[in-house]
């Protein structure tokens, strides 16, 4: 069986009518402009990242105190997918009763933000009201609870904390893909 053939055409533009190169300087000049714009864009992205606009930096760090000052929360408003971080809550002495502090957290802490551990270990944890109610033993004058988060899905997550009888505190955390 014969292979199909076609006569050779001089389809590649020549330079000085000597060498077939196929140069397109008009395209290349536009490309250089685009290239320059892209590198400036990359530089801006890197600066934004260093500042923490995409998480793990100064802009990502956040601090919220509930209106009744029962909870003092330090967290990252921009998290990264599958990357560990710590959300820290200082509990006010006002919420401690009989050496115990109760803290309710919405279930997004587990579902979207992938809570891996709670320090200190809660005495009890009960599921209910779209969240988990933890009971912590309190021995000292101050009490800090740490949640180790490893977000399992990208996007905005709404997170709520409340000690029964006190104000609810809502946070929005954006998880970068």
């Amino acid at each position: 069986m014969e292979v199909e053939t076609k006569p050779v055409e001089d389809s590649v533009p020549k330079i000085n009518n000597e060498v077939a190169v196929g140069e397109d300087l008009e395209f290349q000049r536009v490309w250089w402009k685009v290239e320059r714009a892209i590198w400036i864009f990359f530089l801006l992205l890197i600066i934004a990242d260093v500042l923490g606009a995409f998480g793990r930096g100064w802009l990502a760090k956040a601090h919220r105190i509930s209106s009744d000052k029962s909870l003092d929360i330090t967290y990252e408003r921009i998290e990264r997918f599958n990357t560990p971080s710590i959300l820290r809550i200082n509990l006010s002495p006002a919420i401690v009763h009989d050496g115990k502090a109760l803290l309710w957290v919405s279930d997004s802490l587990l579902k979207g933000l992938g809570n891996q551990r709670v320090v200190p270990q809660p005495e009890t944890s009960a599921i209910g009201q779209n969240g988990i109610l933890y009971t912590f033993p309190v021995t000292g004058p101050t009490m800090t609870v740490e949640f180790g988060l490893t977000p399992s899905s990208a996007g905005t997550q709404e997170l709520s904390f409340q000690s029964p009888g006190f104000e609810k505190t809502k946070l929005k955390i954006f998880v970068m893909p």
Binding site: I15, N16, E18, V19, V21, G22, E23, D24, L25, F27, Q28, W31, W32, E35, I38, W39, F42, N82
Partner: protein
């Protein structure tokens, strides 16, 4: 599914970044450019496979990238402008013995790069080179003066 999405994003992001490096890595690779290739490849693979180190995952990622590459190559052949965007175009660096300084500067090409390609063709001095063309692959083709 997540592997496929990550592989697609990784492929296009790599293509995008590498295309915007003024001098295409691949040909005339110096140790300096080796660092770039290995580092970029190593970083992108992390997000591509994630925590799933299974054979299935790596096979899927490889097939996705392979298929994408074939698709992009087919488009580059079919549409000349698209080909110019993803693969670049040849540029003349030396024209009838004259340096085109604007192009050399913007493509980060120096005299020793051209002379290295010239020596492969048997050129002993710059004056022996009539044309030097920076090819799409990043290599430099040399055409010597006829009487050399």
């Amino acid at each position: 599914m997540s592997t496929i999405i990550h592989a697609v994003i990784g492929y296009f992001w790599l293509l995008f970044t590498v295309r915007f490096l003024s001098r295409r890595p691949g040909a005339q690779m110096t140790p300096f450019e080796f660092v770039l290739i290995f580092l970029i490849g190593g970083v992108i693979i992390l997000s591509c496979v994630g925590n799933d180190h299974s054979e299935t995952n790596s096979v899927i990622a490889v097939m996705t990238v392979g298929l994408l590459h074939r698709f992009v190559s087919a488009l580059a052949v079919r549409y000349r402008k698209f080909g110019a965007i993803v693969e670049g175009i040849p540029l003349v660096l030396i024209d009838r013995g004259q340096r085109r300084t604007e192009i050399m500067w913007k493509m980060r090409i120096q005299d020793p790069d051209i002379m290295a390609a010239g020596r492969v063709k048997g050129a002993r001095t710059f004056q022996e080179i009539r044309y030097a063309v920076l090819e799409r692959l990043g290599s430099i083709s040399i055409i010597k003066n006829k009487d050399e």
